[in-house]
């Protein structure tokens, strides 16, 4: 069974535009920018996969290669087993491309007329096109404005129409390039819910979503690939990426009846990396909140056992999962 999306050693470079001075002094010198280097990604069917990276990382270039808008220099990309270069006709039947560009519509046509036009270009028979247009209009909440000119739409409506267009052929795979970029927080949140619950959860579509929004990636995605300077730095679930980085385990422990000397002894325990005092209340029997970092192979239960055997009382112990921002920063530094 082929992957929904697969790339094998995809690489892409672009020529940098030369100024007049360079054209005259160095006419044959080529300046090239590496956009992508040896990208290997596999996306399973029904997965919500995020490509996360800062601006200029290569996200849009990769999505455009998958949509057959850019030819890779090296490597192959497949949509459900179809080569996006050689079998682009088959590949295009399977994808819906949702781009966050309000200029990609005809402003003097209505929303419905725009959808009708693109439905015909996607070879939808007329009767089926009309039915499907009504469905996607309802799905995206555009019924009240479907017959208004696109130029009169708000930004949120324009983005919803872009999603409607991407869904018009009911494709199995959706390629989304920063779909919530220009939306207000509430609209963006509703769109994220729609993607996760309706498109992926209910309709079982595969979604490949490029974003630089960490919160969005953390909220939505089953798996994430972090890309920077054209290279995949890490790929997997959040837990897998954390494990890959060997991120230390951190715990917040609330304690009572604990002395300074005990806290110092905790630091000397073999698996303990760091002990930080977060809160101290002497009026409550020296109630203390500690942040304890232990290494990958360490076991917090051993630390708790030691505290108890030394006379301390453990009130609570909560693991601290490092947020994506922390993981992201560490990975980009690598």
């Amino acid at each position: 069974m082929p992957y929904a999306i697969e790339t094998v050693n995809i690489s892409k470079t672009f020529n940098q535009v030369k100024g007049y001075r360079d054209i005259v002094l160095h006419p044959f010198r080529k300046k090239r920018i590496i956009a992508l280097k040896d990208i290997n990604i596999q996306v399973n069917k029904g997965e919500l996969f995020c490509l996360l990276g800062p601006n200029g990382a290569g996200k849009t270039t990769l999505i455009k290669i998958l949509a057959s808008l850019i030819l890779p220099d090296k490597g192959k990309a497949y949509i459900n087993g179809y080569d996006v270069v050689k079998d682009w006709k088959h590949a295009k039947k399977l994808i819906g491309y949702i781009v966050n560009d309000e200029r990609s519509f005809y402003w003097r046509l209505t929303g419905r007329q725009n959808l009708n036009f693109f439905a015909i270009l996607n070879n939808l028979p007329s009767s089926k096109a009309q039915r499907r247009i009504n469905e996607v209009i309802d799905l995206t909440g555009l019924r009240g404005v479907a017959d208004k000119m696109f130029k009169d739409y708000s930004t949120g409506m324009k983005q919803r129409l872009a999603i409607a267009r991407g869904l018009i052929t009911d494709p199995q795979i959706l390629l989304m390039d920063e779909p919530t970029k220009s939306l207000d927080p509430l609209t963006a949140q509703n769109l994220r819910k729609f993607i996760k619950k309706k498109l992926v959860g209910k309709d079982k579509k595969t979604v490949f979503l490029a974003t630089h929004n960490l919160a969005e990636a953390e909220e939505l995605c089953d798996r994430i690939a972090i890309i920077n300077h054209g290279k995949i730095k890490a790929c997997g679930t959040l837990a897998e990426i954390r494990a890959l980085l060997g991120i230390r385990k951190r715990y917040f422990i609330e304690l009572k009846n604990i002395t300074d000397s005990l806290v110092n002894k905790l630091k000397d325990l073999p698996s303990v990396d760091k002990v930080l005092c977060k809160q101290f209340d002497p009026s409550l029997n020296n109630q203390l909140k500690l942040e304890i970092t232990i290494d990958e192979n360490g076991d917090i239960s051993k630390v708790i056992e030691y505290i108890i055997s030394s006379g301390g009382r453990v009130l609570s112990c909560c693991p601290h999962k490092p947020p994506l921002i922390e993981i992201f920063s560490q990975i980009l530094k690598r």
């Binding site: 808008l69 850019i70 491309y97 309000e102 990609s104 009708n116 036009f117 270009l121």
Partner: protein, 263 residues
Amino acid sequence: MAFIYRDFINETSYKLAFFMELLGIFFSVLSFFFLSKLFGKAVIPHLKPYGGNYFSFVLIGIAFSSYLQVSLHTFARSIRSAQTTGTLEALLVTQTGIPTIIVSSSLYSFIRTSLRVVAYLLLGLFLFGVNMKGANIFAATLILALTIITFSSIGIISASFIMVTKRGEPLTWIFTTISWLIGGVIYPISILPDWLQKFSYLLPITYSLEGMRLALLRGFSTNALLPHILALALFAVVLLPLSIGLFGYGVKRAKIEGSLTHY
């Protein structure tokens, strides 16, 4: 049809421009009518092969040179318009191939031009007394079809440049300027010096306009117009496959450079 409908809605939404174009046709014809009054009833030897009347001569030239304009410009303009408005990417992601998109994007321009030509001819016939009795409509249509294919091929070559360079393609400017100068649009080529006339016969517009005038104004038979028809057919046979090949190369270059949607 989808493209024609899209462009019709787009064009007619600019209501003032739509009416002004209709007025423009009328005033253009009127200007040349008054210009032809300069000649009065004088017999101009250069106009004799075409029936002797300057207004009829120039009306055919102005009307059918519209096809030159639209064929040369519409493909490149469609691409450039799609690039600048941002719709090209959305079009290229659909299941419709690029050649179909480009050709279909130009259909409305040809339909509009045909309506302009009909308007020119009707004005000439009913308002300004142009005589087209005995016109060979079949030959005129055949010549028109070959003309459109030939000029469109040049237009597609021009569009290939636009795909890669985005601006500044030289072909249409050269062709349009030279065609107007020595192609027989507003004066017969027999007026030109002999050495310049030789260059006229290298241009498809020369055969196109001459054939059209002889078919419509003199009612020449299809057999008599065979030299013009065959010349245009030869241009079409050479230029059409060349244009398709070059356009495919232009698209591939743009995809390699990642510049399909740049402008």
